[in-house]
Symmetry: C2
Subunit: 289 residues, 2 copies
């Protein structure tokens, strides 16, 4: 009997799919802009709208799919302007300046509401560049934690959909089990990778930069409504280092520096198992009280 | 004999001046965008083009001058697409999404070259918001350094113009005096304020976030050409805290986490003398070799 090969498309690749859309009249004079239609994906939904890391990855993918792309991502900033409604959205990526070795991008995601009004749901900028080999060094210190195989996978009592798409193995600073308002630190360290495993690329790394649960929950053992407002990823690896990482786990470490009148920051690092610091990432997050 | 009162406008305020420009035809349909003309300023020039912190502050000022502004800056990201040529530039600020308490901005600076071609020299995004009083806490630890009055002002052998507009008093990690390639850490701590002193506001704080000399110079005691590619500022203070800071010194601390094939990152904190963490800021910087 012949074996049946199931060629399943990874849920992240399903979610990242962008379909080209022809330019419309009102973008006349902005020829370099390209438009795509994307879709929210049931596997990556959060409590309100999709997982922000996925939305960021979708915006990044619009840059990577652009036929005029120069080089690879160096920096990426996404600003979350509104919760995406389930369904389709429009992605625009535009190279606004192309130099000899660097390229600057503006990206927007937008949706048409039930009244037919088009609204921006995300703005982003990116810089891509051709890297050259130079002197290199990592000053950040990789935390000393047990290997991923020896760390138990996190279980959450009422997981939202997207959490199931990540194999997360906390080494320190888990989600509080008692929401008793005990103030502590804001540090979390965990191993993480896509579930099912998927070779690392710039889109999945962008999404992984947003897997940390809100620092204010950890810091206070208090669950207040939150929402990431702006997120930046700096890439310290090229496609070769991501390919070499493959489906290995990444070690993520995140902590806050300031919580002030409704907004806190988060700084995080993502290493691969061999100790290469692949990305540093920062965000500022709204919290209600 | 009557005393003559000299009412001098601070050089930073001169440099930040933006003159409104009427919208042109091709922005039809983007009514909320406002345009200004700005000028480079001789006091804030760097080796190639103006001091990046000033350019960022000029872009921030376009948001702050916009008649539809909601709230105060929460986050700001500027991407430096090309060196500004001496002379005038065009600033555009557009609120692309206004929610109940937050507002999302796209900003571009552009210049017309000698062939009459208009090019983007900077892209930026900002989020402004009305803050509400909430639980607040600072987790970052303010470095223990001597008070600014007891620290000597830095003297640089061949200062570029903008350096003279800042009173910088290094506590640790000064600019290397011997460029001998001795590898060390990338940490710098310094007191800083405008010179002449000027009450702190969101524009001057944005500029101050960029005063640190390149981390790669410190790390290696080796002077390689550099240029900031992207810079993000998260504000952890409202106008009241900035006003209360007045003309006091800020304590800045900056260090790098990764130097990899042509780009390094920098993370920095800016405290006021009372120990309020006013801003955290991050950037990614090109280096040649």
């Amino acid at each position: 009997m012949k074996k049946t090969t199931v060629s399943a498309v990874h849920p992240l690749d399903q979610a990242l799919t962008l379909t080209p859309v022809a330019n419309t009249a009102h973008e006349h004079g902005r020829e370099a802009a390209r438009h795509w239609q994307g879709q929210t994906h049931h596997d990556y939904m959060n409590m309100v709208g999709p997982f922000g890391g996925l939305i960021a990855a979708q915006a990044m993918n619009a840059v990577l799919q652009h036929p005029e792309l120069l080089g690879e991502p160096i920096s990426f900033t996404a600003n979350f302007a509104a919760a995406l409604q389930e369904g389709s959205f429009r992605a625009e990526a535009r190279p606004v300046r192309t130099n000899r070795s660097t390229q600057h991008w503006q990206i927007t995601l937008s949706q048409t509401n039930s009244e037919g009004v088009d609204s921006v749901v995300l703005t982003a900028t990116a810089v891509t560049a051709k890297r050259r080999q130079t002197w290199s060094a990592v000053d950040a210190v990789m935390p000393d934690v047990p290997p991923p195989a020896t760390v138990a996978r996190a279980t959450q009592p009422k997981p939202v959909a997207w959490v199931r798409r990540y194999d997360m193995r906390p080494c320190a600073g888990e989600v509080p089990t008692e929401w008793n308002g005990t103030e502590a630190d804001s540090l979390t360290q965990l191993w993480m990778r896509d579930d099912p495993p998927r070779p690392l690329d710039f889109c999945s790394l962008t999404a992984l930069a947003d897997v940390f649960y809100p620092r204010v929950w950890r810091r206070r053992a208090f669950m207040t409504p939150v929402g990431t407002v702006s997120m930046t990823v700096y890439f310290h690896a090229s496609a070769a280092e991501l390919a070499a990482t493959g489906t290995d786990y990444l070690l993520g470490q995140a902590r806050a520096q300031s919580f002030f009148n409704g907004f806190f920051d988060q700084s995080a690092e993502l290493w691969n198992e061999s100790g290469h610091l692949l990305a540093t990432t920062h965000q500022i997050v709204y919290f209600k009280e």
